[in-house]
């Protein structure tokens, strides 16, 4: 996989390795928005998302020697972001599963209009879907975001979150079922409900 902006990253990293620390600012400028957006989707909290994005950039800088320049940069730094955001979610909810990752933590309700992302979405159907995704338990939400938005494979998501691929498949399966219900569709093999279902976050 190649990144369209690989040259920007390559030159910036080469400059940093030559001792020009300020060159790293170009990477922050380049990926700041994407990483902040990713962190915001996962945490649903702008101040937490900013903290996570900052930590991810600082940590990536500290471990820049570990980065393999033959591979695209974004998946590497986004994995750091995902781990930090997941740590934040776990620390916040203090709910641990058997695997100790808090993947089943239920998303706390968010006040209508308080979701910073939902306010940016103009299409009603898209907003409805995002609000349903945002209301999923954090593990399911994270899996949906990484799988559908970040284009990560099930194996990559499992590695990033420190769980098995089976766990991610289960989370995706459950998430899709909840989303179908939330969007007023019948789950496969059942009768179509007449009305849409609210409160999708409850398990």
């Amino acid at each position: 996989m190649t990144e369209p902006d690989a040259d920007v990253v390559r030159t910036a990293i080469a400059d940093v390795r030559r001792g020009d620390r300020d060159a790293y600012g170009r990477i922050v400028d380049h990926y700041g928005r994407r990483l902040f957006g990713l962190a915001l989707m996962m945490t649903r909290d702008p101040s937490a998302a900013e903290e996570v994005a900052q930590d991810a950039f600082v940590r990536a800088f500290q471990h820049l020697d570990d980065y393999d320049q033959g591979r695209p940069f974004y998946p590497w730094i986004s994995t750091i972001t995902v781990r930090l955001a997941q740590n934040w979610l776990v620390a916040r909810t203090r709910v641990t599963t058997r695997e100790g990752t808090g993947l089943d933590a239920v998303a706390p309700p968010i006040a209508p209009g308080a979701d910073p992302l939902a306010t940016l979405i103009t299409d009603e159907g898209d907003r409805q879907l995002w609000e349903s995704v945002a209301a999923l338990p954090s593990g399911e939400r994270t899996s949906v975001i990484l799988y559908y938005r970040q284009d990560m494979s099930v194996g990559d998501i499992a590695r990033a979150l420190g769980v098995t691929s089976g766990t991610i498949k289960t989370l995706l399966f459950r998430a899709r079922a909840r989303l179908r219900l939330a969007m007023g569709e019948a789950p496969p093999g059942t009768k179509a409900p007449g009305t849409s279902t609210s409160g999708t976050a409850t398990s």
Binding site: R21, V58, G125
Partner: protein, 125 residues
């Protein structure tokens, strides 16, 4: 309005969701943190590690010193012969203050060994 929902629908919608702007201070904050981290002298862990090793050495010193004192004070030459070939089994000194000193030395030794673990626990976020 309910939209038919398939895998493709989720994928397409998720990909087209807008990205909020990053906080304007993100670059400045990140660069300031990197500068702070780079300029900070890395002496704290070294000093802490040295203190633990000093505790371990001090504990060992107290134990060895107390044992040696016991041997010298009793006037009996230490016997390093293995019990398997005829030596008597080594016993803890019967002398109260010596036994106490050895006990304290062992405690200091163990505290030094466990020190890094306690420091790690404290520094966990």
């Amino acid at each position: 309005m309910n939209t038919p929902m398939h895998d493709d629908h989720i994928a397409v919608t998720m990909k087209t969701l807008p990205e909020p702007a990053a906080p304007p201070s993100l670059r400045a904050t990140v660069m300031a943190r990197i500068a702070r981290e780079a300029d900070r002298p890395q002496t704290v862990p070294v000093v802490r590690e040295r203190r633990h090793w000093l505790l371990v050495a001090a504990g060992l010193g107290v134990v060895i010193g107390a044992t040696a004192y016991e041997w010298f004070a009793s006037g009996v030459a230490p016997d390093f012969t293995s019990p398997r070939i005829g030596s008597a089994l080594a016993v803890m000194p019967a002398n109260g203050p010596i036994a106490l000193a050895i006990g304290i030395g062992l405690l200091i030794y163990v505290a030094g060994l466990m020190g890094p673990l306690r420091s790690d626990e404290r520094s966990e976020p």
